[in-house]
């Protein structure tokens, strides 16, 4: 790590300070004050308010303040380097480190002066701090913000000096008197809101008279007034550092002397990216400053400047760089990469503490997980805690022993595995051992890891053939798709396959390879199910290939004239269970109506609006009959994974059917009102994907972690087989699992905590394998650092799962409120962290890493499973979406929550017929009605649906080119197909591309014209989550609401 850190440092200096680019621009410390200065100045202004407040309460800052002052003075010299802030804490070092905050940190470690020391304590391990800071990449912002930014900015922001002090305190904070509070400054990324800026200006003036600065606020107003205008702009514009600069230059000059505190904050906001640490989103309410600034913008809120995840999910990669041996974030994402060291600290972190694991995530070409065979050596594992050997174990005693990184146990190295150590204590054969260099490996498991011979891939189909199945064309599509996939089923030649069809009776098929045609056997006794044949209901595909094909060819015909409307679903499920329970496998159920006969028959609970809002509401969303849970448990026990495909346009009680999928690690596919002409493609693609994707069979998964913490709850589609063992009969790359951890009472004394996910499974080829992902995270004693390392993606993923689970035991309203309360608590804690040092006024502040949290929170509340009341989504849709979201990996979930909205008409008109210039259309727009121009053509893509929205005033040429002669017709009746002209081809290639981006689901294409009600509202408007719809609030209201609650005590 140390080395890594070092590397990190250098980077800082290097950081480009592209002030212009909002993010990138983490203003490099090195950058000349001028450039950064101006912006900072503006920002600073915003901050100033803080400084005053901060200065008063907080000694640290007290640039003017008596005690700190000296430091400050000292610092100032150094200030040239942004680090000033840090300096306060670590006075001596700062100067040297002046280069960057990071440096600042570095110094602290060595001789941390008492004051500074405290801060360092946090980073006790100097490396961490450094590493953290450096965290290069995207993080630069944050990191920079925390550390370097301050430095760089500060100089510019001079006026902010007091403020700067504040930031430094953060780093140093621990050391400082108001340890906790101090750290925050950096963290705050003050919002770049206009409001702040306004305030900022005043600050500058005040600074001159440091002492009076605090009081200076009053003064601010006046100054603000003058300055405000510019500031606001800057803030709103964000990056536009230059403009602000001009206005502020003077300030900056003044500030320059001072620490950059203010500047940092302010700048950050505007430059948010750079300062990352301090992004504060400022929401102005009644505050004077707001009023003055907004003068131009009425409400004082510029919702355009609200943070939006238009770049999609940004993976936290700071740690990937810091710990290059960690597994990739596609496999394991922690909600915060800084683990609290005590229960009390964890309890102040109101966000979830846990991880989202996607053990089989798809890997891009060239990054496949290495496969390792330990052969006769046996798998190297810790004797005590059973951890698998990984890159973080250390070898000692000349290579004869190794120390487990999780439990510190000293283990013997088996003779065959022995290797000499080099001078650095590294094994000589390191390069040939991927398990010692890679965070993700796959190990071939010997027979000790099997309780029976590895099972072959088994696909069993349970198909409803009642009248609705034939009429809708479902049967035909399913039969064709299965037939077309027979060649691609994994595991040839061991793959086994079998079928049962049912309506009011059960039909079994003998597919013995010696037959030329399958034999059908009908069982009518639903109460006492028996299998008409002991064998041959489940056959080897390669041997019985012709029989299977003959069956699939004739299946649609056989039931063509079936008029049976009943569905003996429960008995059919039992029969399938009896066929499969010898080996397990995957059971695909195609259900067209409400189960009406035999065990497990369901009532038409329907969507009774009267039940909503009462205490019984949740009962609609859980399985009605215990039969389903019991069957699910039995199936899991016998390694049967169930995927449910539901097609009915009427109520089919997905809540009950989905339970089968939930507890067997499966999925629910729901096609309401299935019509083969409309949904055929979607079903074909999704079924094909389900059948052909690489699948891990009879799997169990466990996640281990270091002493002092443990995983306590798990969320997703699976069943727990013991307290920490997830049973996953069939798992694939589209499934992710979330878990929460808790701390034990003892203080964590180690500097890092290790996590190891192990998935033991049978590959389709018949090999038993263990996939091991190892990751490490530092332990911190500072709440601010936890916020800095937070990962919005996995937090949101966990929140969504918690909310959906909550909706199964409480009212929707309660589930939504719970999410809101959690966000409020977290932001309030964050605010308190910083409130001591800064006058926060009516601003909403949040760390850079969580800038999208409020918006995603809103998106969760408006997601299909949780939105509105009975009228907003049918019960089945809700439940189906809930089951789906419980399994989605982080990226797909985020896309579903905040879908892509892109405008394509201009791109289509561009002459460049090059179909590859898709980058031009990757410009995502905010999800608000005002993004839609009636002259445009837009695509809305949430990964499950594509909606093409035709503006009312869209040029008829475009419409005609794309839709052919139907262009004026009602779009619900128009089928979207290629029209044979360039523009249409171009659009089709775009649609294809969008679909290929995520093959796990096949988004259906819907066309809708502006003003075509109610389709427009249903397809698109309701999903514009930033708008106010029905009883739910829009983004602006939501932020105001949060802010109001945060300020209430």
């Amino acid at each position: 790590m140390g080395t890594e850190n070092n590397k990190g440092y250098p980077k800082f200096p290097a950081r480009p300070a592209p002030s212009s680019s909002p993010y990138a621009s983490a203003p490099p410390p090195g950058i000349p004050p001028p450039s950064g200065g101006p912006p900072t100045g503006s920002d600073a202004v915003g901050f100033r308010p803080f400084p005053p407040s901060a200065s008063q309460p907080i000694r640290p800052f007290t640039p003017s303040g008596p005690p700190p002052a000296p430091q400050v003075g000292a610092m100032r010299p150094a200030q040239p380097s942004p680090f000033v802030s840090q300096i306060p804490g670590s006075r001596p070092p700062p100067p040297s480190s002046n280069s960057f905050p990071s440096t600042a940190y570095g110094p602290p470690p060595p001789p941390p002066p008492p004051p500074g020391a405290a801060p360092f304590q946090r980073f006790p391990s100097p490396p961490f701090p450094t590493t953290q800071n450096p965290p290069p990449q995207g993080p630069p912002q944050t990191l920079a913000g925390h550390f370097s930014p301050p430095m760089s900015l500060r100089p510019q922001q001079q006026p902010m000096a007091p403020v700067t002090m504040g930031p430094p305190p953060q780093s140093t904070t621990s050391g400082l008197p108001g340890a906790n509070a101090s750290p925050s400054p950096a963290d705050f990324n003050m919002a770049a809101r206009p409001g702040f800026q306004q305030s900022m200006p005043p600050v500058t003036p005040s600074y001159p008279g440091v002492g009076g600065s605090q009081p200076s606020f009053p003064g601010y107003p006046s100054k603000q007034v003058s300055q405000p205008p510019p500031m606001p702009f800057q803030s709103s514009q964000g990056p536009p550092g230059p403009p602000p600069v001009s206005s502020y230059p003077p300030h900056t000059g003044g500030f320059a002397q001072r620490p950059n505190i203010v500047a940092q904050q302010n700048l950050h906001p505007s430059y948010a990216p750079p300062t990352s640490n301090v992004q504060g989103l400022v929401e102005d309410f009644n505050s004077l400053s707001l009023a003055s600034i907004p003068g131009s913008m009425e409400p004082g809120l510029d919702h355009r400047s609200f943070p939006r995840p238009l770049d999609g999910d940004v993976e936290p990669n700071s740690f990937a760089e810091m710990y290059p041996m960690n597994c990739h974030s596609r496999y394991l994402r922690l909600t915060t990469s800084a683990i609290p060291n005590s229960q009390s600290l964890a309890s102040r972190w109101h966000l979830p503490l846990g991880a989202v694991v996607c053990p089989l995530a798809e890997t891009p070409e060239g990054e496949e997980v290495p496969l390792i065979d330990f052969g006769s050596t046996g798998i190297i594992r810790c004797r005590r805690c059973r951890t698998y050997v990984n890159p973080y174990v250390t070898f000692t005693d000349s290579g004869r022993k190794w120390r487990c990184n999780i439990c510190s146990m000293l283990n013997d190295v088996p003779g065959e595995y022995f290797s000499h150590l080099d001078a650095n204590g590294r094994r000589m054969d390191m390069d040939q051992r991927p398990e010692l260099t890679k965070g993700s490996v796959e190990i071939i498991a010997p027979t000790e890891y099997m309780v029976r011979p590895p099972m072959p891939p088994i696909y069993f189909f349970l198909i409803d053939v009642s009248i609705s199945a034939t009429k809708s064309g479902m049967l035909e599509v399913v039969a064709q798709t299965i037939k077309s996939c027979l060649d691609n089923l994994p595991g040839y030649p061991r793959t086994q396959i079998g079928f049962i069809t049912y309506d009011s009776t059960l039909h079994f098929y003998n597919m013995k390879s010696s037959l030329s045609q399958p034999q059908m056997m009908v069982v009518t006794d639903l109460d006492d199910i028996f299998l008409p044949l002991p064998d041959d209901l489940l056959v080897n595909l390669s041997e019985s290939r012709t029989v299977v094909e003959a069956f699939l060819d004739s299946l649609p015909m056989m039931f063509q004239d079936n008029v049976n409307v009943e569905s003996a679903f429960g008995p059919a499920l039992r029969a399938a269970f009896m066929v499969m329970n010898q080996l397990g496998g995957k059971l695909l159920i195609f259900q067209n109506s409400l189960p009406s006969l035999g065990a497990g028959r369901l009532k038409l609970r329907g969507d009774d609006p009267r039940v909503y809002g009462t205490d019984k509401e949740y009962a609609l969303r859980v399985a009605e009959d215990p039969f389903y849970k019991q069957m699910a448990a039995d199936c899991t026990k016998f390694q049967i994974g169930i995927n449910v495909y539901a097609f009915s346009d009427k109520y089919t009680d997905i809540a009950s059917l989905g339970t089968l999928a939930k507890y067997t690690g499966g999925q629910v596919y729901y096609y309401p009102g299935f019509q083969s002409s409309v949904h055929g493609d979607k079903l074909r693609h999704e079924l094909a994907r389900d059948l052909t994707r690489e699948t891990a069979w009879e799997a169990v998964m466990r996640i281990r972690c270091g002493k002092g913490i443990r995983f306590t709850s798990y969320h997703g589609n699976f069943m727990l087989r013991s307290t920490d063992l997830l049973a996953l009969p069939a798992v694939d790359c589209d499934k992710a699992y979330a878990m929460q951890l808790s701390l034990e009472e003892t203080l964590l004394t180690t500097q890092t905590v290790y996590f190891q996910v192990a998935l033991l499974y049978t590959a389709s080829c018949g090999e038993r394998r263990i996939r091991v992902h190892t990751s490490v995270a530092p332990v911190v004693a500072d709440l601010g650092e936890m916020y800095r390392q937070a990962d919005t993606g996995s937090i949101v993923s966990l929140y969504a799962r918690l909310a959906i689970e909550k909706s199964m035991s409480a009212k929707l309203d309660d589930a939504r409120n719970a999410i809101q309360q959690k966000i409020v608590k977290a932001l309030k804690e964050y605010r308190n962290l910083h409130a001591v040092q800064h006058r926060l006024g009516s601003r909403l502040i949040y760390p850079e890493t969580l800038k999208f949290l409020p918006l995603y929170g809103l998106a969760i509340i408006k997601s299909t499973p949780l939105q509105g009341g009975p009228a907003d989504a049918s019960l089945d849709e809700r439940c189906a979406a809930g089951f789906t979201m419980m399994a989605l990996p982080v990226k797909k979930l985020l896309k579903l929550l905040y879908p892509n909205l892109i405008r394509v008409d201009e791109w289509l008109l561009k002459p460049s017929a090059d179909h590859d210039d898709l980058r031009d259309v990757s410009n995502r727009l905010p999800l608000a009605a005002e993004s839609l121009d009636s002259r445009g053509l837009y695509i809305y893509d949430d990964g499950f649906r594509l909606v093409l929205w035709f503006g009312r005033m869209l040029s008829p040429d475009i419409a005609k080119n794309l839709l052919g002669n139907d262009f004026a017709a009602e779009l619900s009746r128009v089928t979207f197909q290629e029209q044979g002209n360039g523009m249409s081809k171009k659009l089709m290639s775009l649609v294809k591309k969008l679909r290929e981006n995520d093959p796990s689901y096949h988004p259906m294409c819907f066309l809708v014209r502006q003003g075509e009600q109610p389709r427009e509202g249903f397809l698109l408007l309701r999903h514009l989550i930033e708008d106010q719809m029905g009883g739910s609030s829009g983004y602006v209201d939501w932020i105001l609401q949060l802010q109001r609650q945060i300020q209430q005590n």
């Binding site: 215990p626 019991q630 448990a633 727990l720 013991s722 307290t723």
Partner: protein
Amino acid sequence: MGDLLDWIISFLFLVTLLIIVIYQLTCLADLEFDRKNPFDSSARINRLILPEFGLQGLLCLYYVLTGHWFMAVFSLPHLFYNIRLYVKREHLADVTEIYNTNKWEQKKRVYKIAHIALSIFITSFWLIHSALGDI
């Protein structure tokens, strides 16, 4: 003499009940410490739930029939709670969620045990009282 018999019988009822609930509790505890799998554990627990509820109901009825009003009233809350669980179909341990509900299931049984133990205490007091009184 009849009174003594009443108390002895109800005492036996209570002891059986106590044993059943303690057994369920140990099953849950075993589960928590990974000594059993959830399938077996929940099957064992669920097998005993209806007998437990039945026994408790019988005991109440017995108190009423023999005119021990105080004891009848004392065991009413327990009965009421059982009936409520049964009506809501929440009386059986849910094998799929048993790890998530384990804490609450255990707590529930600890309270039941406390209630039964109190009943046993009172019953044994009356048992001894009536035994001595007869002499």
